[in-house]
Amino acid sequence: MNRPSGPIVSEGEDISREAQRWERETRGPALEGRTERRERFETQALKWPIKPLYTPADLDAAGFDYAADVGYPGEYPYTRSTRPNGHRTDFWTMTQVTGFGKGEDWSKRARYMLDQGLSGLILEYDLATTNGYDSDDPIVEGEVGRAGMALDSLEDLENAFDLPFDKLKYLMSVCNAPQPVNLAMIIAALERKGIDPADFVLHIVNGILIEYTCVGRYIYPPEHGLRIATDCIEYIIRNHPNWAPISIISAQLQPAKANPVQEIAFSLAIACAHIDAVLERGLDIDTVAPYINHFVVNVDMDFFEGVCKLRAFRKCWARLMKERYGATRPEALRIRMMTSPTTIALTLQQPLNNIARLGIMATACALGGAGEAMTTPLYDEAHALPAENAIRVGAAIQHIVAHETGVAETIDPLAGSYYVETLTKQMEDAAFTELDKIFAMGGAVKAIDTGYFQRALGREQYERNKDLEEGRRKWVGVNHLAKADEKREIEIFRLDDAMEEEQVQKVRALRARRDQAAVDSALEKVRQAARDGANMVPPCLEAVKTYATHGEICNAMRDVFGVHSADSQLMGI
């Protein structure tokens, strides 16, 4: 095609002029006498304006450069993928959340799942355990064994670990505030069972900073929470280098209404707080970063916000490690992600609609680059009883995306889209601006202390709810195409009073028959280590072996660290 002669202009300027012409001559007239569907087109969470059309001129305006901004899979800055061959060799690991219950119940369910061919399990605990209390503490009445396993002592875990460890390759433990106690119990239980810790991967979530920010299961003041988290990370790096000492669950910020820029900035700032703390212990960035680079990121229904968020996350991590820390090893520069459709997009009303939502979000995950693993929630997530069908459908959704859509046949197929690259770059830039702000105020711990994170989330929560109530956001089944007289049943996991009572008696019986003097001595050593600034894992290990209880060891640390009471911040006040 011959180019029109005339002054030499860049292709971008050429297109820009053409786009303006199109606007004037074609789109403009088509709008005559009509109004658009929305007064303002904007993305769902960030509320950034969406133009009718994106062209190469937009990439120019954003300063886009293919080599610097996008690059190649498995190479810095990893925007297209951290994996050199994408998902052409292996698909992402397809997972689902395990169930819960008392020690014995969990292992029964775990054994069943291992028999079905799963090789990874997730250990979740009840609110008594995650808040650092024993089952017989009056403050936790009604909570024992409900949200997860009740873990009062090494004895409970010894029972739970009645498992075929030859089939189990990966165990994740979700226990944030009392992490050193929990880690110690797992190590001790493995020892008791004669299991070689090098034979599988233990992944502790160790997510205390997210707890302070939006979840609320914290015990000690933030500086001490960070210190004991660092103890666990350092202990694992030095003693169990094949284990994973943290998982930064950005997917907990999102239900608290963090927008994608806040998700990236807050979770990366949190990662830096951990990295900085471990670097202070004498390790270097290329050693440390590969241990901290575990993230769980979800996507919401805004398709492109989801895809671009995943791409931006990869790029931002890589840039941060390189620019802030001077990391050089690919293992340090590559983020590891587990991706997931968010549960908060699912409705109680017309639950079958959620299957469509999950399919769409799982596709967005795959197109954004699913990461190491994907988890699909159940389509009737609002109902706590997982129906068999829901489990099967959840697994099928991932297989359908993987095998039937073709989206994983090539790597990062949406790259080059004018909209996708513009939005990705805008997210990256905005995330770094926010990160600079957080670093300027002293980092994530300072942001938590002053309530900066919590207030930002509180504002988003209120504003987004208003959007929904005032109809600016349409949610099918809720405020659009809603059935006026729809009767939706919420089923919840019913309290089993007998089960709680049993656990209470069990822990009391344990206290009665153990060597109290050994327990007292071990607890004093825990307190001393807390005072001295020593690594908390070894004294916790010694204490759990005397059958000191979970609550007792947590209390020993309460005696030294004090307790954190920032509920007002958590409520955005």
Binding site: P221, F561, G562, V563, S565, A566, D567, S568
Partner: protein, 324 residues
């Protein structure tokens, strides 16, 4: 029949003098709402006031005032004192609503019968306190609480009404918030009785402490040499550190005030100011009648100036009094 704010004032007064919490709470509600029953109530309890030490706690947001107050309450309770806390937070100037969240940090005292925590919104009043704060303190005084803590936000120069209300004002500072020292300099450093640097285990504590020492030194140099030193204390409220020293300083201040006759003098000044404020309010509401609208219109149309308008309204009042 709704028992919404039911109660007969003399009955409520009798019950609160007995120490009944629900009655005290109802009394404060009437005072806060400017319910007509509060006049009878106040006259029934006033004779029983004048004993409690009112302790103001102020400082910038983030200083940890509520956590500090929570710590002091524990210390006082350990010494057998009964404590009331009035936590004041700003009401929205647009909607009149308020989020009152200070008691969250004092939750562990919520079932202690010797502790009474009450949250108030400023309800349009400037200066950091509500109109009802002083009267609420009187209710607690009459109920027999030894200490009444008034906790408020004190940014800049404006929110210092608490200094006039309290016998003993504690200024809470915190390391690392640079600008806050500037705000603290602006007037409140002159008026505080006890200074506390909270979160003393933070970076920047030494610098903050030195700065405040310097300012207090300058202040002391303007006073007679035998004037008691203004305590500058440290605390880590999250860990309960510093409570004993602060409570001791508050008790010492109480003794100093007593010895100098200051305690009674302050009560007297406060009462007088309250009477004057009530007279001012009363005058205003009497004047806002039909006469006022005409006068305001005359100002709007520039027939008379504001000073003349005020004189005219005052004359109206005088005329009415004579007529009565």
């Amino acid at each position: 029949m709704a028992a919404r704010s039911s109660g007969e004032p003399n009955d409520i007064a009798r019950r609160l003098l007995d120490g009944e919490i629900a009655a005290g709470a109802r009394a404060i509600r009437w005072l806060d709402d400017r319910d007509p029953r509060c006049a009878t109530l106040l006259s029934a309890i006033y004779a029983h006031t004048g004993k409690a030490q009112i302790v103001g706690v102020t400082g910038p947001p983030g200083a940890g005032k509520s956590t500090l107050t929570d710590m002091l309450v524990s210390e006082w309770r350990g010494r057998g004192k009964r404590v009331a806390v009035i936590a004041v937070d700003p009401s929205s100037p647009f909607t009149g609503g308020a989020i009152l969240g200070d008691r969250v940090r004092m939750a562990r005292h919520s079932v202690d019968p010797g502790v009474f925590i009450r949250s108030l919104g400023t309800r349009g009043q400037a200066g950091g306190l509500s109109r009802s704060t002083h009267d609420a303190a009187l209710v607690f005084d009459a109920m027999g609480y030894d200490i009444v803590v008034v906790e408020t936000v004190g940014v800049g120069q404006d929110e210092i009404d608490v200094v006039n209300l309290a016998h003993t004002t504690i200024i809470v500072a915190v390391p690392g918030l640079g600008d806050e020292i500037q705000a603290v300099k602006a007037g409140i450093m002159e008026a505080g009785d006890i200074f506390v640097v909270n979160k003393a285990d933070r970076d920047g504590y030494d610098a903050t402490h030195r700065q405040m020492e310097l300012i207090l030194h300058l202040r002391a140099s303007a006073l007679p040499p035998d004037a008691p030193a203004v305590p500058l204390l440290r605390a880590v409220a999250a860990k309960g550190e510093g409570a004993a020293e602060i409570v001791d300083a508050i008790a010492t201040h109480r003794v100093q005030l007593g010895e100098a006759g200051e305690f009674a003098r302050q009560n007297s000044r406060r009462a007088r100011e309250q009477v004057l404020a009530l007279v001012r309010d009363g005058l205003l509401s009497r004047m806002i009648g039909m006469a006022a609208d005409t006068v305001f219109e005359a100002v709007d149309t520039r027939q008379i100036d504001p000073h003349a308008a005020a004189a005219r309204l005052l004359d109206t009042l005088a005329v009415r009094k004579v007529a009565a």
